[in-house]
Symmetry: C2
Subunit: 271 residues, 2 copies
């Protein structure tokens, strides 16, 4: 999905919601555990229920990998089931030397048909650029993450700014707003205005709203650009809204609530 | 495998060689492509041929993931086939928020029986510590990598040293020499003496010897500690030593050469 299509979908649905698929056998409703592929059965029901209210899905690859090749099959089926109607983010936090990043790109952009992959910047340019060789596919680079550990290294300052600012500025010379987004955690709303000055046009993927404590309204106000420019992820609040037989219905209700709040924020801050 | 066992194996074999398994369908001998699982057939032959000369194997997960769940099956079979006689490093460069890193730990330490996983430090403490909850399993944290992009962020300096030094120092407070190693590329031999001052006891995993240009002798001289303290990885020079029917034999010859050089360096620099 390219940038124009993504923006069109956001405007049409009045939603910049990304639903995280961190599907955990210990958290899904017990009745699904008798299915041949419980993870896929859960995802399928969640996807069917939430499709109208979100523009993106973000399977968290670790939760599939935990079950080995069987888990990878569930992931492949999930991505195929989502199809081309939604922007698909493989949340994989990959990144390695050039020839190896090229293989990760093959895994997620060719073997699987994800639109985007999250990438860790530590190894620098040649660990990131191989992902750009697939047309209409995206790197979503970690900049300022939502977790407590984000303060260990990402805020280290030399004379030219914090590490996360170096990452944002350098990577903006490797990619462009058509193939590069950044991860900025909702738990750092005070940084959004400064980040928007560095990269007015790039989309930001924002985790940390909901269970992690981030505030949708504050993030939207400071993070929006003229093309919306935000994908806000919510996982636990939606996919685990109920552990009962009504889990999909409960997920839909919760996703719709978020979508309605987003529609309001778009009306308030974007013409 | 714990630290004492690893050191004992290194002393017994007079080898601190790790053989990288970046198994690539485009590079393995053509006659293997008719096998039901060419990647596993190749690895099996390479492992059989090189077992006496190395103490560790390092499958590069990207090369398996590139083929999706089928590739993961090849990886699972490879790790099972290596078994407990060698130290197994899943070269995966993972790292995410705590609950997600816990899933990556499950994938590589429980579902698969690797001894160690490479981890990227960008997300800080809670992205690393979940891997320490498995006894006798290891984190191998990226510090100063072998690629050109290592200069983009890893050398950024604040008043207290370069980013990679911050990573080394902080992580040394999260783990200890029994469960934590660091990646330091052989392409930076000038940094080894300073790194040894920061962490005299930790093992270093050193990629970049051979095809990437690093010098085994210089790295050993400056990187050794009293317990050897080095695992030096070689991949392409060994596993792709020949593209013919003799590929395994050629790999054995090459691995034996490296082992003999290592035996000599151990004799020269370690009593």
């Amino acid at each position: 999905m390219d940038r124009q299509q993504l923006i069109a979908e956001i405007r049409r649905k009045k939603s910049y919601l990304c639903v995280g698929l961190d599907t955990d056998l210990e958290k899904i409703p017990a009745h699904l555990l008798h299915e041949p592929d419980p993870i896929f059965s859960f995802n399928k029901a969640i996807i069917d229920a939430t499709r109208p209210f979100c523009v993106a899905y973000k399977p968290n690859v670790a939760f599939y990998e935990a079950y080995g090749s069987r888990g990878w099959e569930s992931l492949e089926k999930t991505i195929a089931y989502i199809g081309q109607s939604h922007f698909i983010i493989a949340d994989a936090k990959r990144g390695d030397i050039g020839n190896t990043s090229a293989r990760y790109a093959q895994a997620f952009f060719s073997t699987m048909q994800a639109d985007a992959i999250t990438v860790a910047p530590y190894m620098g340019e040649d660990s990131v650029t191989p992902f750009f060789s697939y047309p209409n596919k995206w790197v979503i680079l970690l900049a300022l993450t939502s977790n407590k550990g984000s303060q260990d290294f990402q805020l280290i300052e030399d004379g030219d700014g914090a590490l996360y600012e170096h990452v944002i500025r350098k990577a903006a010379t490797w990619g462009n707003p058509e193939n590069l987004m950044y991860v900025v955690g909702a738990t750092h709303p005070e940084y959004f205005a400064a980040i928007r000055k560095l990269i007015p046009d790039h989309f930001l993927l924002v985790p940390g709203v909901g269970a992690q404590g981030g505030d949708l309204s504050a993030v939207s106000q400071h993070g929006f650009n003229k093309d919306i420019g935000l994908l806000i992820n919510s996982t636990r609040d939606i996919i685990y809204a109920s552990k009962g037989l009504d889990f999909a219905e409960a997920a839909a209700i919760k996703a719709k609530q978020v979508q309605e709040e987003m529609a309001e924020l778009m009306g308030k801050y974007i013409d």
